[in-house]
Subunit: 523 residues, 2 copies
């Protein structure tokens, strides 16, 4: 006999005349596994580590050497001035800042290990850091794609639809900028993005670091939506930005400005070097990670020099290029190792760790799925606290895919269920049930089963577990096709979260005024 | 700036006028990452554990209680007699055997923690146990399926094609029975299967435990192929079988016979209870695992009573059913937890651990990929030593899929590359390269890169990393479509491994004689 035999069994529901229902077609219908496992995700397991402490220390020491001996180029004069006042060696001609190890270690010691983010609906708070995980939509793609309309430049309408999807699934805690709305004029784009995020969702919004005026506008809108004054907002992280170093070893003007502005405003800044091994970083992973670490530390130091205790996170995004074409690759074995080691580095500094759910596929196909899974397992087992590009990322981040969004929601919900710890006690060990059923019996009718079967297991959103004949007779729709149907139905069923009319009015007035004033210079 | 920007980079090869090559179309062309990472896989990382030692002990104790107080039903009189002679309490009327904890612990202490399997080509030896991992094709499906011909009953021709695929990829170390050849008469089917495995591959073959005569025939063929006498074969594990308990708590006649025969012959026996939580085992995972553990221990004890030191493995196959339909599910969050906990149990006993690469999808689609990945990560991080159903399993094991075989080979190769440890030393930390390139530079031209780029990263078999336009212009073939092309090309390029003509002749004569004698009764 082999494992494949004897697979047909009868469930209590079927025995009692129930039917299988809409599995694989139902949108956003998820049976809770334990108490609210989707709203607040906690990793109950010890983080998985692939490097020894000595190996982590070797990377740490190398990155300190990089900062001391080579330094980083900081293009913003104010940033250099802040570093200089703290005792760094600044070469104004080269725009180069050299940081000694003691300054680095002392500065980052003030970083909070856990941050609570509170959006306009305070019930949607999310914590990141230590065992707490927040999941973010994808961010940044210039294109949108779905099976029906194909791949095209992103629009505000696409952006809004991704907001609606993000609002519809509990597993999405934090809003990214899922697609670039090319049809909105650049000077007012930040107003449209922030307005869509604040209107169509009540979750934690994202702010682009695209220049001080745009940041100030977005923060003002978030302040209005939360109904706080500026002093209160500064005490309560309500949004976040991502700052990418221009690897190797460079912080450009808007990025440096973003670090400074977000620290001053007490909002979360995620410092993520974009270190593609073999291109913008050494081809060897330890070297690429030493450079990533140096860049991350430089930015984190700047944030803490501006305001000790400012909420920040350590972002790891090291991957490799295809050495045959130079194309970036994601979700590779090297990517998985880099994510796990980055988590170890972030934990060494007790800083919240950001990783990503990424892939390089051109279609929402099996490559997209297995590369994403490589990313997900390495991120989440490696102690990730902020999972960016959690849902919708395709094509190395050049497209936001509607179907991939649903596929990702399913994969994320599975990981959330995996993170619900199993309780081991007399009831769950079930000796009496085993005794009752005995050799050769079955458990469907057992009291132990009947008392638990409704909530025992994760109930999928997308996976179709019907037998082949039923699946074929229903049209042989594969998982990507089902994801398409689910995203459509989710949008059809979407309901906007309520907003106080006074806040709505104030937001509209602000947007109108800033639009009339010509919006903002962006960089 | 976001992560998605600035993705186009130039590689050294392109700079030097090279071309990208046939990535995504080439069959079986894999760049080795480090020294032979595919032929002999070792897990360099500490196994990932989700239960505390106390929780593992609670499961262990519960399973001993099950064996002492409830016992197992052993349908084969010889098996009961062996247990009885060792001191077990046997109820012949109920065919029930009760084992006390001391007898269990004492018996399993003789199990080898690591086993070397040697097939007819001795260079294809594979070790399983401790940090060593052997990968097996799928086994058991009654159907074969591919994109061109659809799903149909398996044939010998399909079986042979899967043998050819298994032979073609280094990552496959051990042959399963990938599809049931329905067109071969049952009484001689074992002869055809063993002949195909021995002729079309030179890797470790599988033997079904379908009755003593069929087992004896298959072992005789394997003995002939290895050119050993029976005494030498008994000292050198050359093949394996899988014994599934008939959960709950029952060992049927052919399965018990398989345990006894394989122990006597010194060949590897993998004891795998098929404990679907909520159907053949308690709905709570700790209970299902306690029952799995009891069943596994009962079978392992029997093997060691027959021959202390007989090579065996502990199989975990606990999954859950869809409680709405009763359909078995695979690659679920519960499955992943069960695999990890099973690994902890096997390690507690220092017995090689068998897990699987499974999914419940009806198509080689994203569901198949993400469910397989859930299985793969939990198996491999959890210390799996024998990965069954490694390549080709679809539809909960009811179909062997040609495309899925290729998809799995890619996923397995990625995991093998993930298991190549990163060396941390002065060269890999690359401080001098970082100094040479400096802020704002790039690494393509660096000596450090040029010396390493050819072997630095895993080069995919199936993943397509071309940019969207190139991929679209080449026909927008998704990963499943590419897997189809790769399997076809692999079959076209296949070359049979050489076999000594004298051995060929002896095998043919044996098959002819046994066919003439009417084959074997199977059970």
């Amino acid at each position: 006999m082999t494992d494949a035999e004897n697979l047909t069994v009868e469930s209590p529901r079927r025995q009692r005349g129930g039917r299988r229902g809409r599995r694989g077609e139902a949108a956003a219908e998820l049976k809770a596994v334990g108490p609210s496992p989707l709203r607040h995700i906690r990793n109950p397991y010890p983080p998985f580590a692939i490097f020894s402490e000595d190996e982590i220390e070797a990377i740490h020491r190398t990155s300190l050497q990089i900062l001391e001996e080579i330094g980083i180029k900081a293009l913003l004069p104010e940033a250099r001035e802040i570093y200089r006042r703290a005792g760094a060696e600044v070469d104004e001609g080269e725009q180069r800042v050299r940081l000694d190890g003691a300054l680095v270690e002392q500065s980052i010691a003030s970083i909070p290990s856990r941050v609570r983010l509170t959006p306009r609906n305070p019930e949607r708070w999310v914590e990141v850091g230590e065992d707490a995980i927040g999941i973010v939509t994808t961010g940044g793609p210039p294109h949108a794609t779905d099976l029906e309309r194909g791949r095209r430049g992103g629009t505000l309408s696409d952006f809004e639809d991704f907001m609606r999807l993000a609002q519809s699934f509990e597993i999405i805690h934090i809003i990214g900028s899922p697609v670039e709305p090319m049809d909105v004029e650049v000077r007012v784009r930040h107003l449209a993005l922030t307005n869509a995020a604040l209107s169509l969702t009540d979750k934690v919004p994202f702010v682009y670091s695209r220049g001080p005026q745009a940041v100030a506008d977005s923060l003002e809108m978030i302040r209005i939506a939360r109904g706080l004054d500026e002093a209160a907002l500064m005490q309560s992280p309500s949004c976040y930005t991502v700052v990418n170093a221009n690897s190797p070893l460079q912080l450009d003007v808007p990025m440096s400005q973003g670090i400074i502005d977000f620290a001053r405003m007490g909002q979360l800044m995620i410092l993520t070097p974009f270190t593609l091994a073999g291109a913008m970083a050494p081809v060897s992973l330890p070297g690429a990670l030493a450079q990533q670490n140096a860049e991350a530390l430089a930015g984190l130091v700047l944030s803490q020099l501006v305001r000790p205790g400012a909420p920040v996170a350590y972002g790891g995004f090291t991957s490799n290029v295809d050495m045959k074409s130079g194309a970036p690759a994601f979700g590779t074995p090297e990517y998985a190792k880099a994510a796990l080691i980055s988590g170890q580095l972030a934990r060494r500094y007790r800083v919240p760790f950001r990783s990503s759910n990424v892939n390089a596929s051109n279609a929402p196909d099996v490559q997209a799925a297995y590369e994403s899974q490589m990313s997900l397992w390495s991120a989440l087992l490696g102690g990730c606290n902020i999972l960016m590009h959690g849902a919708g990322w395709l094509e190395g981040g050049l497209s936001a895919s509607y179907e991939k969004f649903i596929i990702d929601v399913e994969m994320l919900q599975m990981m959330a269920a995996f993170f619900v710890p199993e309780r081991v006690d007399e009831a769950s060990l079930a000796l009496e049930a085993v005794r009752e059923v005995g050799p050769g019996g079955h458990y469907f009718g057992a009291q132990h089963t009947l008392a638990r079967y409704d909530t025992a297991f994760y109930a999928p959103l997308l996976s179709d577990w019907r037998n082949f004949e039923s699946w074929r007779d229903a049209g042989s729709v594969d998982a990507t096709g089902r994801a398409h149907n689910i995203y459509k139905k989710t949008l059809a069923d979407y309901e906007a979260p309520p907003m106080d009319p006074a806040i709505r009015e104030e937001l509209d007035a602000f947007i109108a005024r800033r639009t009339e004033e010509g919006g903002a210079d962006t960089e």
